[in-house]
Amino acid sequence: MSNATKSPLLLSIFGLLCIALSAPALASGEVNIYSARKEDLIKPLLDDFSKQTGITVNLVTGKEEALLQRLQSEGANTPADLLLTSDAGRLAAAQQAGVLQAVKSDALDNAIPAAYRDPAGYWYGLSLRARPIIYAKDRVKPAELSTYEDLAAPKWKGKICLRSSDSVYNQSLVAGMIAHDGEAKTEVWAKGLVANFARPPKGGDRDQIKSVAAGECDLTLANTYYLGSMVNSSDEAEKQAAAKVAVFWPNAQTTGVHVNVSGAGVTAHARNRDPAVKLLEFLASDAAQRWYADVNNEYPVNPAIAPSATLKSWGEFKVDTLNVAKLGELNAAAVKLMDRAGWK
């Protein structure tokens, strides 16, 4: 047989093989997850769940937008039973796109405060990710700090390092500001903030903390679990950097600290609805909640769970009670606002 006829034939054989090998199993006793949480930050919990219940868990990780797109385009045929994200705005977007279904569970309602779940049960928050001010201990006194809004004041000129406005964490923060202060006021604020930058935005959250520790700037905004993992790092340089900075909880008198929620919802066309709910309940259980705090330094949604030693060392704070779904709604407005303010 010649090459020209061989290649399409090969192609189709190869294709059929691939399909045969990788068709997702849909038998009972299984849950299929699309997860925007990284494998390292969820797999150990899933393994525990499988061990306890005998239910097999199949996992695909990825970026939340892409997973949502995959879920949408697969429609009723989707193999996914559960969508896990690390951002509540995306859960709200998934709900609006019609790819989630409402589930009712007393265990979930008891473990998760109403503020961190959808009223109808379309999604449930599983951990909290706070974004406070992180400052250099030797150059900034906590008394000088007060609110996010205050960071636009001229006294901070050349002292602030921030991450790019491409970061969804900054987008959510600004969306929250818009919800509280209105768009016009927030834009003035963003322009003042940009004028205070020590350098153009670049790098990740950890890089901002390191810049503060090294003296390139005096303060930054970063999610606490990054600082937490630096504190507990095996790298001596990271540990030392983390020791030079401290956490300040802003807006204590006003709106509270900006918090995002990681969570999950059962998909609209889930074939394994009951095991999926069981898994949700497991993730909200005491043991799993404690794991979030101990391993990834995130705040548990269940207020009855004591935070880890690292979390305790940063003290208590007032949480912004804004409905997290609002953050998703205002995300586009926030991005455009940051473009106008020149926040790269």
């Binding site: 399909i19 990780t61 970026k63 045929n77 790019s164 993992s229 095996s234 473009d339």
Partner: protein
């Protein structure tokens, strides 16, 4: 070099390839195969264009008012800068290792390819770790001289020039590889003719060697520029706004898929202009050997300071493109490997190697089919279709992945619907979420890599070879299999290697399209690195590099032995 006498073009159709349809274009079997394959592969890009045709909201006015000029300026600078940088490093290194003799030449031949095994965003992370304000280099300077922040100026690595540098360091091997193959295939006879005509060595290089290698150089540079345009990891981390970051920002940040598709389409216009320029620049000339036997020119033995200079020219890119970043990765991996290498590690490596190997073979076959089909039927419609299929390389992987996902899901839905209606059962997802979809995405994205190499190789085979084989009674397939493929071994191996390493590093499409419980080395590397755990990711990044080294060495040897008209592996 002979000025083209396209004898092929006027050859009447022979038996067995008679047209089966003759409306506008005469569709014979070869044309049919090529058009069909090309159109299928162009499907994802086509999906993007169709999305782009819908009217967009007022996002465009916002972009034009604020960030669009940044996107255009930064993207163009990146393309031009990386193009110039890779030529500057790749061409001298290729010429030296191909035609001269100096200390370390044999080692450099393959070692210079090593940087291509390092994913671009990984080199960006490692250099940032080293050169950043908080990194060891600046820390050391401050400690040594007692400086503070205001006392000294240090070039900022996370900037547009920094991005150009990073991408240049990992992409120059493409230019080096193609240029070296071209230099090696040049015959001694031509150089002797020019020497006998009194040309000095510089003049020979500039007027004979370089122009003869031009198709290969242009092919290499346009690949590199397309890859630079599609890069997301480096520019995003360095805070440089380009079309790619813009596409994601508009799409996910502003939730406007249409405007994002339009941005993607706009950036494709750049690529189209680039490719058109490439075609135009070599339209006039043809580059094949006319001699009966091609002899290896004797190597030019370098002496004195030229030896040192040659060694330095090869050592510098190797040092900065591979030794330093790989060294940093090794230091990190040393510290973390013990709790990172477990049972799953073997699975990850096996998945990566199988995917990369399978995709590379598949893509090579497709490239051969399209490249040869184009040679047989050089019609504008065929050329246009092959160009269309070749655009995928410049499109960010995520966009390609979604361009694959949407039509596949639509197909699954209609099959499911049809079977339900006819037989009362559901077929569910047939293609979506399978390795087939993933391989298809790889084909779309990396076909151009193989195609460039195959086309450049075919371009150097003179058409009279085809004519002779045909006159002796061989059919087109036979000519391809028995004449071209043996001659092309070097180019084919190059294509295979490039695609293999590209797939090994590929991330965005793998991430979105892979089936359940299926991870690769690149996915693990990314998951840890994007969580800002570089040290943890180092073991997996290093494994990608190691997996790439074996084929790199093997194929580099095969290429250096390959000569037109000779079997390279014997």
């Amino acid at each position: 070099m002979e000025v083209g006498c396209p004898s092929l073009h006027r050859r009447p159709l022979s038996q067995g390839e008679k047209g089966v349809g003759a409306w506008i274009v005469r569709i014979d079997r070869w044309t049919g195969w090529v058009l069909g394959t090309a159109l299928l592969l162009a499907l994802p890009v086509f999906t993007v264009f169709v999305t782009a045709l819908q009217p967009a909201g007022e996002v465009w006015r916002h972009l034009a008012d604020t960030v669009l000029t940044d996107y255009v300026f930064n993207s163009i600078t990146l393309m031009l800068g990386v193009g110039a940088g890779t030529l500057l490093i790749g061409v001298p290194a290729a010429w030296l290792t191909a035609t001269c003799e100096f200390p370390g030449r044999r080692g450099f031949e393959w070692a210079l390819l090593l940087p291509m095994a390092i994913p671009a965003y990984i080199i960006a992370y490692t250099y940032t770790g080293l050169l950043d304000f908080a990194g060891p280099v600046q820390m050391l300077l401050r400690e040594l001289f007692g400086w503070t922040r205001q006392d000294y100026a240090f070039p900022e690595i996370r900037s547009l020039p920094g991005a150009v540098l990073m991408l240049t360091l990992v992409l120059y091997p493409y230019v080096y590889l193609l240029a070296r193959a071209a230099f090696l295939e040049q015959s001694a006879a031509m150089l002797e003719v020019s020497r006998s005509l009194g040309a000095g060595s510089w003049r020979r290089f500039l007027t004979v060697t370089l122009p003869l290698a031009r198709p290969a150089l242009i092919a290499g540079v346009s690949l590199v520029q397309m890859e630079a345009l599609a890069d997301y990891g480096v520019v995003q981390y360095f805070g440089v706004s380009t079309f790619t970051t813009g596409i994601f920002r508009v799409w996910f940040g502003m939730n406007d898929a249409t405007a994002a598709a339009q941005l993607a389409a706009l950036s494709l216009l750049f690529v189209f202009a680039l490719l058109t320029f490439e075609r135009l620049s070599r339209r006039q000339a043809r580059f094949h050997h006319t001699g009966q036997r091609v002899q290896r020119p004797p190597r030019l033995a370098l002496h004195g300071r030229w030896r040192g200079l040659a060694t330095a020219t090869c050592l510098i890119p190797l040092l900065f493109g591979f030794l330093i970043p790989a060294g940093q990765l090794s230091v990190w991996a040393w510290r973390t490997a013990s709790h990172r290498v477990d049972d799953h590690f073997v699975d990850l490596a096996a998945h990566s190697l199988l995917l990369a190997g399978g995709a590379a073979l598949l893509i090579l076959l497709l490239a051969l089919l399209l490249g040869y089909g184009q040679r047989l039927r050089p019609r504008s419609v065929v050329r246009l279709a092959v160009r269309g299929a070749g655009l995928g390389y410049a499109v960010p992987g995520t966009v390609i992945a979604i361009g694959v996902m949407l039509p596949f899901a639509a197909l699954d839905r209609s099959v499911d619907h049809w079977v339900r209606a006819g037989f009362g059962m559901s077929t569910g997802l047939l293609l979506s979420g399978t390795l087939f979809a993933l391989l298809f995405a790889y084909c779309t994205r990396f076909l151009p890599v193989a195609l460039h190499s195959v086309e450049a190789g075919l371009g150097r085979i003179r058409p009279s070879m085809d004519d002779a084989a045909r006159a002796l009674g061989s059919r087109p397939r036979g000519v391809l299999w028995r004449v071209h493929v043996p001659i092309l071994r070097g180019s084919l191996l190059t294509a295979l290697l490039l695609v293999f390493v590209d797939v090994l590093k590929e991330l965005p499409a793998t991430l979105i399209l892979r089936p359940f419980n299926f991870n690769t080395l690149a996915v693990r590397t990314y998951e840890l690195a994007s969580d800002e755990r570089l040290a943890d990711s180092a073991t997996f990044a290093l494994a990608i590099v190691l997996a790439g080294i074996g084929p790199v060495i093997l194929l580099s040897r095969a290429i250096s032995q390959a000569r037109p008209g000779h079997d390279p592996l014997s």
